[in-house]
Symmetry: C2
Subunit: 327 residues, 2 copies
Amino acid sequence: MRKINENEIQKVKLGDVADKAGVSRTTVSRVLNNRGYISDKTRQKVHEAVELLNYQPNEIARSLFIKKTYIIGLIFPTTNNPFYGQLIFHLENICESLGYRVLLCNSQGREDKEKDYLKMLQRHQVDGIIAGAHNRGIEEYNNQHLPLVGIDRYLSKNIPVVSSDNYDGGKKATRLLIDKGCKQIIHINGSPSLETPANLRREAYEDVMKENQFHPRTYIIGDNIIERLFDENPNVDGIFASDDLIAANVIREAKRRNINIPGDLKVIGYDGTETTRILLPELSTIQQPVKEIADLAIKLLMKQINGESESQIEWKLPIKLIKGETT
Amino acid sequence: MRKINENEIQKVKLGDVADKAGVSRTTVSRVLNNRGYISDKTRQKVHEAVELLNYQPNEIARSLFIKKTYIIGLIFPTTNNPFYGQLIFHLENICESLGYRVLLCNSQGREDKEKDYLKMLQRHQVDGIIAGAHNRGIEEYNNQHLPLVGIDRYLSKNIPVVSSDNYDGGKKATRLLIDKGCKQIIHINGSPSLETPANLRREAYEDVMKENQFHPRTYIIGDNIIERLFDENPNVDGIFASDDLIAANVIREAKRRNINIPGDLKVIGYDGTETTRILLPELSTIQQPVKEIADLAIKLLMKQINGESESQIEWKLPIKLIKGETT
DNA sequence: ATAAATATGTCAACCGGTTGACATACAGAT
DNA sequence: ATCTGTATGTCAACCGGTTGACATATTTAT
């Protein structure tokens, strides 16, 4: 550890270890990477020098040569959302257990940010990317000779997508409301122009409604959408929100209007994250298998990284209906 | 873009751009980094070649030479917690705006993981680290010639710590309960052996209690702690939980026991994250200035990265009392 | 006409590791 | 005595950028 000037400290490098151990740089590298023949005596000398100098190999230099960074890029709208927070937690966790690190990107649902992040991750030579963000028209995902997996988002024809069984979730949610006697059921969802399997929640809702001779009505998330919904549908008695935060907002607005839940209005959400279960345990919801989604996404990504082939593109994992006190 | 074999695609590199533009590699580098004198004609030729080949500079190679990665390491317990999720969102956001990327580490409050992450981040040559995790006895943070900032955690004598004004928060929370007429107020907090400014919440609670001739009683988070609290204190009429999730659990247990809130029992939490405000808006809480904390932490980190000096170690940012319906 | 300043671009070393090719030494086999 | 195989270690090129030193024009000043 030689000082170069007051501010800059020269890091210990492989050559320093070699000098201290009295061997060549190659030998040190061989010892550290367990390659070729090395005598026990040499091995020990090297390890001692490493300890003594507290040597930390420079992964940047290593990555440059071996052309692998052991870094996975994650592109999601925001960690400030219980679902993504939980998902990212698991993704990072699994990566760590496999020796990979994670570069985090909050795209905030903005196409421009997502494009920039995608480029940035490539410049940083990440080994793969898992994206669950907004995606309309990000043609950059095509022709990307880079391992990719989408979560709840179609990125391109041949990029695998992992999601919960959105259709089943939508079906079960809608059926629950109907079974509980709701007659005027409204669905709140994101923009259908986003190409996501989450649209299947809406499809299922509409199918089930029609099956039961009800008239489906879907509101698209937007400004004051919940107030408008109540204003325009004073007799609404069932709401299926496509995520728990929206459901919570619905409940709050209902309270404000003195609408009794579940007496006059039944509400069911979607996601069922751990945070929601703690903060709003009474909410009925469709719980996504977050950990399983993360597991599968990583598994599919690793397959690509290791050059193994896999023809299945769409993967659906079973959801769980949680009957709370809001239905 | 030459194919080497079926699986491996050779990336476009600087030399390819140089060839295409009919100049040397140095010239291309100069153009891309705006250094030295370059004629407009040359500049344009280079840019055309870059476009044509869709050239993405290899940041790894660049980092190796300039000894800077523009990567910041974040070590926090878990993104699956509204407070950290929101904090990490802002941290990433600010970093991005400054041209830095973020390597995410979920230490899960485990000392061994935190140590491993710290080493890993160093091997990856990150430019700095912001940590808000468990820290007892991580002496590795000392003698780290690496820009560091702690959030709500003392890492080492001379590493800056940013936190909300925990003492003021604890004071305001306790006073609110007293003002509302509570006589038997109990505080729930994490282990006091963790060296965090969050302990000041407890200190303030105890000080205010004594000031008012009340007997302070603090429970440390653990298994079935909330049930035990109720069992052991049937007459408790005020609970100050050191975070909102705990407060939510208290509320749930109270409901189970048919204890009316806020009639028989008043509850106040701490954090006031956006998620809590949506899912449990009625909860009284002390709101931390999450964005401001992130802003300041990054500012302090950048100062270190840029070699500017700063003598202040502890930084406290004002909290906001949110009076909800649980008090 | 000549020196000095301004443009423009090339060469080659360097960042800190990794690894194929090669040198040397020695034991055992023929 | 010679060959083969096993051990042990060194040399130097390489990964893909960056940059100081230097060469060559071209323009301006004296």
